[in-house]
């Protein structure tokens, strides 16, 4: 329950891990249950890089020694691996295919098909991608439909190559297999579980 | 008769539990049991609770037996529910049973074996005559000491037979031996590896394994077992802390181990040879250990090349149903109210019943005392 004191040079994680993990998880659950809904995680922590507060909070809430994670190898995130190892104890993997989670920056993502999209009998064994992008508003409009969405929702995250959404559609054509996406920017998130059908709006 | 609701309030629960406490204590003119007495004098019950509770802690097991009024399955449940909250530090080194301080060791396969036969503290060959002297407490029984100490290392039956190729190679461990399957943290998965199977059997209900082993002996999946060796004694447990990098002894536990040997006539792929079934339990429990070894061997039909035909050879059947905490909970959950489902069934059966009578209809036949049918015929 107590604050975990980080060693020198490492920023702290949650002040109160039990309650902040629960708080973060519930908002992620809300996001997953209502794909496309923009949610403020309201995380209060000093993430080891800029613009990744939400992504870091999700990592603290969900990762541990059972969840290998892949990280985008960008110089601005140099301290992230050590931060995650200390606070979560999660193994960092080089090969995207070995990862249960990935924390990636939108401009430094491996191709989607390099990640594990599950087994037909165990589709839950697929990867969850936490994607950090510049903003969740102001980009090209995407029209969403599927479970969790009453009629349709529209999102407009920035930084994505339109071809990425083709890859996502390709991945989702294999449903029940598929990769679950959580888009983040600063403290905000939008979830796109594999059940969400995505179309680019003209 | 007044209608008494089965809906119970908080007070009913509290009163019931106080009554339970009173019943546990029994006649207060009789001295209360101390946990140490249970630990020392009901030690085989303690052993069973430790094993099926998956937690080697005689004090805790004794406490659970006291709290459960001697209901061993309930005590196992208490230990499990406590164990699940304990922090896990890591995985110990494999036990080296040849280095056991042997208190009992017998082989039914050879008249004499290296290390010798040691009868030890056994019920075997006791005449099952009630000892009325035990009505009274008396001076402690003292057994004579052996003249020669038992050898420090007593080879297992496998190593005794190793120089002949009559015995199969010991079954390979999981490739990733650092992280054995752990059913307390992972759900059952099939096909089950050896680690998962042995863990499930070790935690499994003694009565269930005993009956399966017995059924198998009677022909329902016979493996023609023979007790190669059974041994019981204390053994050191070693653990390698991350920061030290070498194993240190963290304590000593008593275990019973059984190597069951089955003959196998051979197949196109394998020469005729003897095959193994393996059993190991905490404490002293030969009935469970032997049953476990027989069932382990029966479940190995695939690697040995036998055609399964009986329940004891069906790993889904055996492993899914051996856990008495799961089984006891689910059987007894039928005590919980089911009146929502029953109302649904009642409606359905009443409708069918009514239609059945209408179909058979002369019309005058439906005078019956059964209210269900009476109503249906209205």
């Amino acid at each position: 329950m107590n604050e975990v004191l980080a060693p020198d040079g490492l920023s702290p994680g949650f002040t109160n891990p039990v309650f902040e993990s629960q708080h973060t998880f519930r908002r992620v659950l809300d996001a997953m249950s209502r794909p496309g809904l923009l949610i403020n995680l309201d995380a209060d922590l000093s993430a080891p890089a800029d613009g990744i507060d939400a992504a870091a909070a999700i990592a603290l809430a969900l990762l541990d020694f059972e969840t290998p994670i892949y990280l985008s190898p960008v110089p601005e995130w140099a301290g992230l691996a050590q931060w995650l190892r200390f606070h979560c104890g999660c193994p960092i993997v080089e090969n995207p295919g070995d990862a249960a989670f990935a924390l990636v920056r939108v401009d430094a993502m491996p191709a989607l098909d390099q990640f594990n999209s599950g087994d037909p009998k165990y589709p839950d064994r697929s990867a969850t991608l936490i994607i950090v992008c510049p903003s969740l508003e102001g980009g090209d409009s995407l029209r969403l439909a599927g479970p969790g969405i009453a009629d349709f929702r529209v999102i407009a995250p920035t930084g994505f190559d339109p071809a990425f959404w083709d890859d996502v559609r390709q991945d989702r054509s294999k449903f029940q297999l598929g990769i679950d996406l959580i888009l983040t920017s600063d403290n905000h998130i939008v979830a796109l579980p594999r059940s969400t059908r995505i179309a680019l709006e003209d | 008769m007044a209608y008494v609701s089965v809906k119970g309030g908080e007070r009913a629960i509290s009163n019931a539990h106080q009554w339970l406490d009173e019943m546990r204590r029994g006649d207060t003119s009789v001295p209360e049991l101390e946990v140490e007495q249970i630990r020392e004098q009901l030690s085989l019950a303690v052993d069973r609770v430790m094993m099926e509770g998956s937690c080697y802690d005689p004090d805790l097991a004794a406490l659970a037996i006291k709290q459960a009024r001697g209901d061993v399955t309930e005590a196992i449940f208490l230990v499990r529910a406590y164990r699940t909250t304990l922090q896990r530090f890591g995985v110990t080194e494999p036990l080296e049973t040849s280095r056991m301080a042997v208190q009992r060791r017998v082989s039914a396969a050879f008249k004499d074996i290296p290390g010798g036969q040691i009868l030890g503290p056994t019920f075997d060959y006791t005449h099952r005559l009630l000892n009325f002297d035990l009505y009274d407490t008396g001076p402690a029984a003292m057994a004579p000491k052996a003249v020669d100490p038992v050898a420090e290392t007593v080879p297992t039956i496998a190593s005794v037979l190793a120089h002949e190729s009559l015995l199969e190679e010991p079954p390979a461990d999981a490739p990733d031996a650092d992280a054995p399957y752990d059913l307390t943290r992972q759900p059952m998965a099939f096909p089950a590896g050896r680690d998962q199977r042995l863990q499930a059997l070790a935690r499994g209900d003694e009565g269930f394994l005993l009956s399966l082993a017995y059924a198998s002996q009677r022909g329902w999946g016979n493996t023609h077992p023979l007790c190669g060796e059974i041994r019981m004694g204390a053994i050191a447990v070693e653990f390698t802390p991350e920061e030290l990098g070498f194993p240190i002894e963290i304590g000593e536990i008593v275990v019973t181990e059984c190597q069951m040997i089955s003959n196998f006539e051979g197949s196109a792929d394998r020469p005729p040879q003897f095959t193994f079934g393996y059993g190991l339990t905490f404490g002293h429990n030969e009935r469970k250990t032997m049953s476990m070894a027989i069932v382990d061997r029966a479940l190995r039909h695939k690697e040995i090349g036998e055609t399964p035909a009986h329940a004891v050879q069906d790993e889904e059947f055996v492993l899914y149903h051996s856990d008495n905490v799961e089984a006891s909970g689910f059987v007894q959950h039928l005590k919980l109210p089911h009146y929502v489902d029953f109302q649904a069934e009642l409606q359905f059966v009443r409708r069918l019943c009514k239609e059945w009578h209408e179909a058979r209809e002369g019309g005058e036949d439906s005078t019956t005392n059964d209210p269900l049918i009476a109503e249906a015929a209205e």
Binding site: M1, V18, Q22, F25, V28, L29, M32, S33, L62, D64, E66, P120, K121, D124, G146, P147, G148, A150, Q176, R194, S195 | A2, Y3, S5, V6, K7, G8, G9, E10, R11, A12, I13, E36, A62, L63, R80, A81, R83, T84, T85, T184, Q186, P187, F190, V325, E326, S328, G329, F330, V331, H333, L336, P337, V340, D341, Q343, E345, L346, F348, L352
Partner: protein, 309 residues
């Protein structure tokens, strides 16, 4: 001083009982369950301080999602004052220090065994179901290895065959509770043994529905606004139970009813199974033919329910 008296089981349990690693593992399973509606996610179910079959799956889900801001309701057979519901509600009031309620509208988390409340669920509410047997096909095929393959390849012929056989035998589709549904036209799912009367409440619901089977070690989910279709045939359409009797206490003709035996002569009355719904109606002035009758005369102990709050 010996080890026995020295040992202190001092109740130093974590918030909501489960340790944080277990909660994370369950939370990850819940997120996958939501992402694959109707699919049963295996999880490392822990031994709980109540027996398997008595709500261990629902309790583990609640313990993993509940926070200090939540308002918790727990029902069994629709009623808040059923013994096991009282027991579980007390557990969470104690270990999670959370507010409890009997009013459906006020609850953020509603744990249930065998019923969906009558009052419409709202956005933001989470239903947590205690599930004895998560596998809808288990009664037709005992092997997990087989049923898992059937789900993987969407081979549900066995289920339809069974429904068809019941039509041949009974002239209708049998099954009163635990009636199988297809979620988002993909996964066959058991809605847990709720009466089929409640099945339509899952379809395009405003709330999130989480299902936990502790003994069978499975979690599954129906997100809000998801298609949930009860299986049927064109010429034998799905239909829910209907009660000819109104609630003896509140006069409701729409609700699911408990049948209460009044004496040894076969006299009975029907009352709403959803106790909170019935109370609300009575407070609003509705009355049935036996209004004022006290259920459970030997222990009219509603005040004690508030202890937990």
């Amino acid at each position: 001083m010996n080890a026995v008296t020295n040992r202190k089981l001092n109740g130093a349990y974590n918030h909501a009982y489960l340790d944080e690693q277990t909660k994370r593992m369950i939370r990850r399973a819940i997120l996958k369950a939501v992402a694959i509606p109707g699919y049963q996610v295996p999880f490392g179910s822990r031994e709980m301080p109540v027996p398997y079959g008595w709500g261990t799956g629902g309790i583990q889900i609640t313990a993993s999602i509940i926070g200090q801001d939540d308002v918790y309701k727990c029902i069994d057979q629709g009623a808040d004052d059923t013994t096991n519901a009282v027991s579980i509600r007390r557990f969470f009031a104690k270990v999670a220090d959370v507010a409890t309620t009997e009013t459906t509208e006020k609850a953020t988390i509603i744990q249930t065994r065998h019923r969906v409340p009558e009052a419409p669920l709202k956005e933001g509410q989470i239903m947590v179901y205690q599930v004895p047997q998560p596998e809808p096909l288990r009664g037709l095929e005992p092997r997990e290895t087989e049923t898992r393959a059937m789900h993987a390849y969407e081979e549900y012929g066995l289920q339809y065959l069974s429904l068809y056989e019941s039509v041949s035998a009974f002239g209708r589709i049998a099954g009163g509770a635990g009636y199988p549904v297809l979620v988002d036209e993909r996964y066959l799912m058991s809605p847990s043994p709720i009466p089929k009367f409640d099945n339509p409440k899952l379809h395009q619901s405003e709330a999130l529905h989480l299902f936990g089977a502790g003994r069978e070690k499975r979690i599954y989910a129906v997100p809000p606004h998801t298609d949930v279709r009860s299986l049927d045939f064109e010429d034998y359409p799905f239909e829910v139970q209907h009660f000819d009797e109104v609630c003896a206490l509140c006069g409701c003709s729409e609700s699911y009813k408990d049948e209460v035996i009044l004496d040894d002569e076969g006299n009975r009355m029907f009352v709403c199974s959803d106790s909170s719904y019935c109370t609300d109606r009575r407070n609003a002035g509705h009355a049935g033919p036996l209004a004022g009758h006290v259920l459970g005369q030997d222990d009219p102990d509603p005040a004690s329910l508030e202890d937990a709050q």
